[in-house]
């Protein structure tokens, strides 16, 4: 009886083993994906997960070192806005514009973080193309946001590095070795992306669970970025047109009055066009800028001060100096700290009961873009009118009619947008004044080639088709 059963058992074991060995059965090797991972097919198979992928891409961008602080820090040091007071060795290369391909982690991070995010936006755009699983309307919205943000990243790359590889797919065989393309080609792609996105984006911000934030791109975001891009490539008409679209949207956007300059960088500020969540935590209420720039009772020493040149550029009684610059003294060292963001940690945010969010795009810049574009087309009156809007808010008098408008716009930008994601650095380059200005500010170290950051050595090491910017070893 027992033996009989054993025979049966053995027979079935024989059968099973024969099954393994003969068929090499694929199923026997099939495994489930890990519980904390979803195959991309699944991710782009439903509205919720597709939205989650977009949310993840925004997260990565806002969490990255570059888009939370380095853009501001590196560009402000490289230009003439900021000076480091402690840890100077770390910032010396930036301040002296002697950054190198191998050693400068700040410039390398900008490259690395941008392409990391671009990969994510690319994977969303590709994942949702011709994808019937997600309703067309939702799909359109998500893809348009992804294109806007991809354009935003490229705008940084092309502004800081010049020609860059234009990567629009996730296929490693196509992306790993692709060479740099002309900056103009990149701008063309940026403008095409933004225009396509603008057509598909709604005017209102995407709100989730009824909470409205300005944390995802809307149509005005695309317009604002278009005005920036067009201004950079010299298409002033389009720059003006897109800027005007945003400015005229007074239902959504208004400059805060001079009395409320302290509120400009709060969550849902009426002035904000795009806020990139908080880099630290969606609900923490403080920013990396605040943490980096604002000294606090636990600081050993002061970190940064605004440059003397910038401080001197403020006109007397400029409300912005009182609101956005903080004079401090510690251990006998004095500094003027950038004070646009005031919360330096969770506790200070809780105490102040003010939720600050990194603001990527805001209305004041759009006025200044339009002013610069008007000035470039010779339309002094409209340019001065836009400048007046900004100066009024700052409690400053109107400029005289015979002022050099280009200079006036540049100086106003310098004050209004100091330490905001490298606006000064890009403006000096855009206006072609960088050699003159920085040559004067840093006579012993400035070299013209430094206006383009070096391509990270690791990127070149792994892609022999990349050619380093001129001037770098």
């Amino acid at each position: 009886m027992i033996m009989n059963n054993l025979y049966k058992l053995l027979r079935s074991v024989c059968f099973i083993s024969a099954l393994f060995t003969v068929s090499g059965c694929k199923k026997l090797l099939d495994i489930d994906p890990p519980k904390n991972e979803r195959p991309s097919g699944v991710v782009f198979g439903s509205v919720e997960t597709a939205k989650a992928a977009l949310s993840g891409a925004y997260s990565t961008l806002s969490q990255s070192q570059t888009y939370s602080i380095n853009l501001t820090l590196a560009n402000a040091l490289a230009a003439d806005e900021l000076r480091a007071l402690s840890g100077t060795a770390r910032y010396a290369a930036l301040q002296n514009n002697t950054y190198e391909p191998m050693t400068s982690s700040y410039t390398s991070d900008i490259w690395n973080d941008s392409y990391t995010s671009i990969y994510q936006f690319n994977s969303i755009i590709i994942g949702l193309s011709n994808n019937p699983s997600v309703t067309a309307a939702v799909s359109k919205q998500i893809v348009a946001e992804a294109k806007t943000m991809r354009a935003y990243c490229y705008l940084q790359l092309v502004g800081l590095f010049g020609d860059v590889p234009l990567v629009l797919t996730t296929n490693v065989d196509q992306t790993a070795l692709t060479p740099r393309v002309a900056a103009s080609t990149v701008y063309t792609q940026i403008i095409q992306d933004l225009n396509e996105a603008k057509a598909d984006l709604g005017e209102d911000y995407v709100s989730n669970s009824g909470v409205s934030n300005r944390m995802q791109a809307n149509r005005s975001t695309a317009s604002a970025l278009l005005s920036r891009a067009y201004l950079t490539i010299g298409n002033t008409q389009e720059a003006i047109r897109n800027a005007s679209e945003v400015i005229s949207n007074t239902g959504l956007y208004q400059l805060l009055p001079g009395s409320r300059l302290n509120d400009v960088f709060l969550a849902n500020s009426r002035e904000a066009i795009l806020q990139l969540g908080s880099s630290l935590n969606a609900t923490s209420g403080y920013t990396n800028e605040g943490q980096a720039f604002v000294s606090n009772p636990f600081s050993f020493s002061l970190s940064f001060t605004l440059s003397d040149g910038l401080l001197a550029a403020f006109e007397p009684n400029d409300l912005r100096r009182a609101a956005w610059v903080r004079p401090v003294t510690m251990n006998g060292v004095t500094a003027s700290e950038p004070y646009k963001y005031k919360n330096y940690d969770r506790e200070s945010a809780t105490t102040s009961q003010r939720v600050e969010v990194p603001t990527v795009l805001r209305l004041a810049e759009i006025y200044l873009i339009r002013a610069e574009a008007y000035a470039a087309t010779g339309n002094r009156v409209l340019a001065l009118a836009d400048l007046k809007t900004i100066r009024d808010r700052a409690g400053l008098t109107e400029l005289s009619a015979n002022v050099n408008v280009e200079d006036a716009v540049l100086r106003e930008r310098r004050i209004e947008l100091f330490c905001e994601r490298g606006d000064r650095w890009l403006s000096l380059k855009r206006t072609g004044r960088i050699d003159a200005v920085l040559g004067a500010a840093k006579p012993s170290t400035w070299q013209s080639y430094a206006q383009l950051f070096p391509i990270p050595q690791t990127a070149i090491d792994t892609n022999p088709n990349l050619i380093q910017n001129q001037g770098y070893r």
């Binding site: 393994f20 060995t21 195959p39 490693v172 690791t458």
Partner: protein
């Protein structure tokens, strides 16, 4: 002479339970001869507890012949009758009935009829002998019959070389599956089915001996010791082999070696004992991980774990909590999975090294295979074995640190040099703490004696068909930290084996269950013990813990850190069932089913009492993690053995299906508790975040082996394997592996017979290709993972990797040539191996230009890594007399590792890590040029002449660090000796390693002058060098700081880290005497064991094996009592 008619009185039992009172006798009727068939009526009243002679039978014979009667009795009694039929007359027939009678009673009657006497042996056999004294010659008819038709019982006596009886010698037959063992007196009986049967006597440590069975004759023999252990069975992949017949390279240790060490981790017992296997212990904390390097490092990616197999079931190489999700480590890193195995349950550990031995494991064998086999029950008396160990461990060597006076002088000098105000700089050691206080922190923090208790007991026994062994153990190991911490293990091990009556079907089952608890601290206190300023106050005047209130720059109180609670509870179950059936002569089908499961539950609590209350951001928090891994394996196998010509062919065909599931149900971080009392109550936490993870691994393969052995002279062994692994993309899952090995035992040749001193000589060689799939799971999967925070109210998903569907196995081509010699009757035996392994197709995180989205993806790199080396193993039986014996074992290994080639390395990020032509793990250092007389600071050479000191390699022109040798040992080995005099046995093992290291100063990140203490000698040497103003002493980030960090990265800190360590000592005394027998004890032994007793080294620091500032492997001394009933 035959009695034609038999009358016999027998007991008539009114009540068989009362038969002793019965005295009635009856006459038995004579029945007519009616039929030739015997009528059989079975009435077996016996219970199993009764011995055979007490069992009662009812049987009747009706005109039965001798054969019929014997058969009838055999059937009924289940006892084998053996006799020489030529000697027994067959003419008589018997007709009788017996009712409820014992076998002896029946036999006496029946056999008398045939004029035959009997003898019952061991309740198993009945041997029949003719009482007729006629010479065999007379029976010519019988002589012409084949003489081997009937069996008999062979009895005999086995003695050792000194004439002492050898118990436990196993005796097998060449033509039947009978097995017997010698008893305590060395006696044995075994049933022999026919003449010309050969008996094979085997006993560990003795030569296998063959003798011809002899009828009616005692077989007495002396076994010859086999110091070379030529025929000792060693476990290889899916089978066994021996030194005589193996074609491959494998070494190992067995239970005897494991008994000699007090180590709780079986891997520690391998240290120094096995050639080609380099094992280092990460630190001295209980449960600490052991790193295996078998014949060098093959893989650039860094995962070089061998494959561990316990009783046929693949075992985790990495800690349970490292299988999926986030790993929550303790101070010891993570508990080594091998620690869950109780060394005293292990029968043997075999390490397979070359292609011939490892190819049968195909894609997993490239880094070697470690086979662990647990003990099985043996036929014979039921045995209770036990061992109780009690002992302690302590740090063997402390480092001589700066005294308070020396330390403060350097500190003051630093502030003098930099001009910084110590008050403003929070230099509490100069401004606030007692300038004369001096605490020996090494003694305070890591100076405790850790107690250890280990008790185990095993019950085993069985007979020829069924055996079992069941054991239980409990181990408790303390820690040297000030707080009561430690490691506990309880485990059970069950082994059951069974064979069917016809010996064709076999079953073996083994199960190990082990539960572990480890609450060793999160932080190794050694670094605090080394670094704390000597006048640091641990306590306030009121006895409470001292806290500085300064968040950075002042060390936090290490005793506070001990208030953190770490609790790891894990359990492991490994079970395996093997079924085998002998289908035909030589053809056996086997299947093993394995299952293992490991669980780990962890929590770590950071109460406020463990943190400085003066630092505002400190808040209590806790972490909880849970992990489990389940593993199934099914391995059907077909074995076929037959003789072809003068050789024997053994073939194996098998398959494997393995499925491994790892899960991390949760990894939870919680903070914001109302008070320390709530740390384990998640509901009260303000912030809770949880992540989870899982991974799966499946594995499928077919494998085969063909072995052909021509009279133990020429041996050929071929292995092949085709594997599929889920770690690879759909199109590249399968790979083929194989090896060929050959051996030539030249001493079997005629020409060698004349060489008297050469008793055994064998040349062997093997070559093969083996794979490695030691990469993470899912690298081919294009997937998204969640991020732990929301963006704009939506939980995010991000891409996890650039998926690559096409990467393939890493491949190692292994070549091995070996020589095995036995000299002077195997008194000396020597094994030498030369190997060369080349690993190519390196599976690595292939560097990508970040523009592709990720900086790397899983891919094969064309780089080649070479490992070559020599291994020697020498055993010698130095002295061998009745009372005194001395034997030695020596092993020696050399390994050279080299990055052979790496096309386009300069285009990868590996360019900053490796140099072609150098070992994978190398010392790249600056060239120290002495103290600069101008600056007074240490200087290093600008080797690439670019005007500055750069970190890159001088070899590649990118920097100034030059190659100063590999970090792996140049050579290593061990020497063990066993001396026994009468009842006393002494074993000791020296381990030696020749290697280079960096002095302990390299562990001081900050230059002298900072608030860190350190080893006195190198610091004072540094401080006192150069200019009288000692500008090299600093307390801030300046030129002196940079100069110091260049100095510590220079060859000035290279040092000889070689060592000779008395790894193990074991002194045993075996009690003998009659009182043992009266106590029914078979063995009673007391032992004194020590581990890491002392170390001879020039290395200045805690320990040359672990180097660095972490708890060194401890010195352990235990007393053990071992007994067997």
């Amino acid at each position: 002479m035959y009695k034609k008619y038999l009358t016999w009185n027998f007991h008539v039992l009114t009540n068989h339970n009362d038969y002793t009172n019965n005295s009635a006798f009856c006459q038995v009727r004579r029945l007519p001869v009616l039929c030739l068939l015997a009528l059989l009526f079975i009435c077996n009243n016996s219970t199993s507890a009764q011995s055979l002679s007490e069992k009662r039978y009812t049987v009747s014979f009706s005109n039965s012949s001798f054969e019929q009667a014997v058969k009838q009795l055999e059937n009924q009694s289940k006892i084998k009758f053996v006799y020489n039929e030529t000697l027994i007359s067959k003419r008589n027939r018997i007709t009788r009935s017996f009712k409820n009678q014992t076998l002896p009673e029946i036999l006496t009657v029946v056999l008398d009829e045939y004029n035959v006497s009997y003898e019952m042996i061991d309740n198993k056999y009945i041997i029949l002998k003719s009482l007729e004294s006629k010479p065999a010659r007379e029976n010519s008819a019988a002589e012409t019959r084949p003489v081997n038709q009937n069996g008999f019982v062979q009895t005999g006596l086995v003695l050792d070389e000194t004439g002492q009886p050898l118990p436990g010698v196993s005796i097998r037959l060449n033509n039947a599956s009978n097995i017997a063992l010698t008893d305590n007196k060395g006696r044995f009986q075994i049933g022999i089915p026919r003449d010309a049967t050969l008996l094979l006597f085997t006993y560990v440590g003795y030569k296998n001996t063959e003798r011809k069975a002899a009828r009616n004759q005692e077989l007495n023999l002396n076994l010859e010791p086999d110091p070379g252990r030529l025929d000792e069975v060693s476990v290889i992949g899916y089978g066994t082999s021996s030194r005589r017949t193996s074609t491959g390279s494998s070494n190992g240790i067995n239970a005897v070696d494991l008994e000699k060490t007090p180590a709780s981790n079986p891997a520690a017992a391998l240290q120094g004992r096995v050639a080609g296997v380099y094992i280092t212990q990460g630190n001295g904390l209980p449960g600490s991980p052991m790193r295996f390097t078998i014949r060098g490092t093959n893989s650039l990616a860094g995962r070089n774990n061998p494959l561990f197999i316990v009783d046929g079931v693949p075992f985790l190489a990495e800690a349970i909590n490292a299988q999926a999700g986030n790993a929550l480590d303790a101070a010891n890193g993570s508990t080594s999975p091998l620690n869950s195995l109780n060394p005293s349950d292990i029968e043997s550990i075999s390490v397979l090294k070359d292609a011939d031995a490892t190819a049968i494991y195909g894609s997993r064998g490239a880094n070697g295979v470690v086979l662990i086999t647990t003990k099985k029950g043996k036929a014979g008396k039921t045995t209770v074995e036990g061992m109780v160990k009690q002992g302690f461990s302590e740090v063997a060597h402390f480092v001589n640190l700066l005294s308070t006076q020396q330390y403060l002088a350097i500190r003051r000098k630093a502030y003098e040099n930099t001009g910084i105000d110590p008050v403003a700089d929070d230099a509490y050691d100069l401004t606030q703490w007692d300038q004369n206080a001096q605490t020996d922190f090494q003694k305070t923090l890591i100076g405790r004696t850790a107690k250890m208790t280990d008790a185990n007991v095993a019950l085993s026994g069985g007979d020829e068909r069924t055996n079992f062994r069941f054991s239980g153990t409990h181990l408790r190991q303390g820690n040297v930290f000030t707080k009561d911490q430690g490691y506990q293990r309880s485990s059970f091990n069950l082994n059951v084996g069974h064979k069917s009556l016809d010996q064709k079907f076999e079953l073996a089952f083994s199960a190990i269950y082990s539960a572990e608890k480890n609450n060793v601290s999160v932080l190794d206190q050694t670094s605090a013990a080394y670094n704390l300023p000597p006048n640091y106050p641990l306590y306030n005047a009121d006895g409470s813990l001292y806290w500085s209130g300064v968040p950075f720059g002042v060390p936090t109180n290490p005793l506070g850190q001990l208030n953190q609670v770490q609790d790891n509870n894990s359990s492991t179950l490994v079970s395996n069932m093997m079924l085998s059936y002998n289908i035909l002569q030589g053809l056996t089908f086997k299947t093993s089913f394995g299952f293992s499961r490991s669980d780990m539950d962890q929590s770590r609590l950071y109460p406020m009492s463990s943190m400085d209350p003066g630092v505002s951001w400190n808040e209590s928090r806790s972490i909880f993690a849970n992990n489990n891994t389940t593993n199934y394996i099914i391995e059907p196998q077909l074995n076929y053995t037959r003789k072809i010509s003068r050789g024997s062919l053994t073939t194996l065909l098998g398959g494997t299906w393995q499925s491994q599931n790892s899960k991390q149900p949760y990894y939870t971080l919680a903070s914001g508790f109302p008070s320390d009392a709530f740390l384990e109550d998640l509901a009260s936490a303000e912030n809770v975040s949880t992540s989870s993870g899982s991974s799966q691994y499946k594995y499928l393969s077919v494998f085969g082996r063909v072995n052909y052995n021509w009279e133990n002279k020429y041996i050929l062994n071929l292995n092949f394997r085709r594997d599929g692994s889920s770690r690879f993309g759909l199109d590249s899952r399968y790979g083929n592996f194989g090896s060929a090995g050959a051996a030539w035992a030249f001493t079997e040749e005629k020409f060698a017979k004349g060489i008297s001193f050469l008793s055994f000589g064998k040349l062997r060689a093997s070559y093969g290709i083996i794979g490695s799939d030691q990469i993470g799971d899912y690298q081919y999967l294009d997937s998204y993972a969640s991020v732990p925070y929301n963006y704009n109210g939506v939980a995010g998903l991000v891409p996890t990797r650039i998926a690559n569907e096409s990467y393939r196995w890493e491949q190692t081509k292994k070549m091995d040539i070996g020589l095995d010699l036995g000299l002077f009757k195997d008194k000396f035996s020597l094994s030498a191996s030369y190997y060369r392994n080349v690993s190519g197709n390196q599976l690595v995180a292939y560097p990508l230009s970040i523009q592709a989205g990720f900086s790397s993806y899983q891919a094969n790199l064309p780089a080649k890594v070479e490992n070559k080396g020599w291994e020697f193993t020498l055993s010698s039986q130095n002295v061998k007399s009745t009372n005194f014996r001395w034997s030695s074992d020596f092993n020696f290994s050399v390994n050279k590792n080299k990055l052979l080639s790496f096309p386009d390395i300069e285009k990868t990020s590996y360019y900053t890590q490796y140099v072609v032509g150098r070992p994978l793990s190398s010392n790249y250092v600056f060239q120290y040029t002495g103290f600069d007389p101008l600056t007074g600071l240490p200087a290093v050479a600008d080797l690439n002449g670019n005007g500055s000191i750069n970190y890159g390699f001088a070899d590649t022109g990118r920097g100034d660090r030059y190659y100063a040798g590999g970090t792996q040992p140049k050579f290593y080995g061990g020497l063990s000796n066993t001396l026994s005099y009468k009842n006393v046995t002494l074993d000791f093992l020296f381990q030696f390693v020749k290697q280079k290291g960096r002095t302990i100063l390299s562990q001081s990140f900050y230059p002298p002058g900072y608030m860190y203490n350190g080893a006195a000698q190198p610091i004072l040497e540094y401080v006192n060098a150069g200019l009288p103003g000692q500008p090299q002493v600093t307390s801030t980030f300046d030129d002196a700081y940079d100069a110091y960090s260049d100095y510590t990265g220079s060859d000035a800190l290279l040092t000889d880290a070689s060592f000779i360590r008395l790894k193990n000592v074991n002194l045993a005394y075996d009690f003998t005497g009659n009182w043992l027998k009266r106590a029914k004890m078979r063995k009673l032994r007391i032992q004194l064991q020590a581990q890491n007793l002392f170390t001879i080294t020039n290395y200045l620091g805690f320990d040359p094996e672990s180097q660095g500032v972490n708890l060194p492997p401890l010195r352990t001394i235990v007393a053990a009592l071992q007994f067997t009933f």
